[in-house]
Symmetry: C2
Subunit: 247 residues, 2 copies
């Protein structure tokens, strides 16, 4: 039986990463692409509620939506696809999604939204903004086959980051901690008004054995299992044990 | 020394919830409000990168920004506030932020963004869309004092949901699991084109002792400690132990 694969991303329908991914996944299953019509980087797990959404059919099993990756997955699963897919693959993102950046990422959110619908999901990122996406697409296709065969625990998605160049191996990791310095560009617009523009962040990361950052720094593919659960269980246990916050 | 408190939300600067919160917090510290100029519900942890942002000074220590709660906290901490605040409080949200909805919430994201800047953060929601926000604001002010005194672990924020009506107690909880049925309204626009509008979700939740949903259902205030870390540690340990995914 042919696997049914839903593909989305946050860089937009017309980006190179999703094209390479969809092409490679066609070799292992029936691919439907439902992706944002424009770039949706850093849209996180946001849903568009304040306005209606438009779906554009580009060709057979190829659609764009004027919304976020989460909108795309939601509409694909409720309105666009004739039947439930077996898996949702989001990417290939142009640039890494590591550490705290995972929580801003629209690409990761696309995979997380699959888990809300009780489907397995994989987010795939290349750690460079541009380059040859084919080796990463090949890795993604192999991993997709493996997940289709072996399954994932319900609610778990995989966040995969793939370095550019030769891959030295694969490591299962935890989400690291970013050390960020935000750069804000401020200036005066043509009408004389002040503006602020949030820029790229100069990033280093907390030295932290087993983290996603460390794996990438050492030339490995990083695979982090994620859930939508952000509970800080260590602190929750501490509070319960010491009854520290008593009301 | 007077505590310096930054306040934001996702319902927008002109909502009742943030007004009640800011007014109550003024009794315990110096409050600066930096909040979205329009409603930003379900914007999650999204950052506006594709366009510049505008800051409007409304009065002394009162600002609106044409962006998301995450944008507001970022600009407040880098450009607007003359010095670093002691804590960031986000809310009071009009409606609950429980279970998986936490990952869509702009209000929770405002508190999470504080943790990225190594500040304590609290997200506060009233479980009804409207009503009297003052009892919830009072609870938030008490909790803020407590956190200012006792601190929070670095990277931890508190997600507080407060039921309407008499509060029977306070419970520390984990983030529950939503059982959602998405309702999509579709129709034809005035120009004859199809649209889809993502609607409210009919929600129940997984029966799960100790969850945020359960606390609220039982008339308690729910406080969930959260982190930006979404790693599924149980699955990560399983994979490492059984070496299940071997490449």
């Amino acid at each position: 039986m042919t696997a049914k694969i839903l593909v989305t991303n946050d860089d937009g329908y017309f980006s190179d990463g999703i094209a390479a991914l969809a092409e490679m996944l066609e070799t292992i299953g029936e691919v439907t692409v439902v992706a944002p019509s424009s770039e949706q980087s850093a849209t996180a797990h946001s849903l568009t509620l304040a306005r209606p959404l438009r779906v554009r059919k580009i060709s057979e099993r190829r659609y764009s939506v004027d919304g976020t990756p989460t909108d795309c997955v939601t509409l694909a699963l409720t309105k666009i696809l004739p039947e439930r897919p077996d898996i949702v693959i989001s990417g290939i993102n142009h640039g890494a999604n590591l550490g705290d950046d995972v929580t801003y990422s629209g690409t990761v959110a696309g995979a997380l939204e699959a888990s809300i619908f009780k489907l397995p999901g994989i987010a795939v990122s290349l750690t460079a903004r541009d380059g040859d996406f084919r080796p990463a697409a090949e890795f993604a296709a192999d991993l997709t086959l493996r997940v289709l065969r072996e399954g994932l625990p319900e609610g778990t998605v995989l966040n995969v980051n793939i370095p550019v160049g030769p891959v030295l191996g694969v490591r299962f990791t935890h989400q690291g901690v970013k050390i960020a310095r935000v750069s804000i560009v401020d200036g005066i617009d043509p009408r004389g008004k002040q503006y602020y523009w949030i820029g790229e962040q100069q990033v280093s990361w907390k030295q932290d054995p087993g983290s996603d950052y460390e794996a990438i720094a050492e030339g490995m593919v990083s695979i982090t299992p994620l859930r939508t659960d952000m509970t800080d269980y260590r602190t929750l246990d501490d509070i319960r044990n010491r009854n520290g916050f008593s009301f």
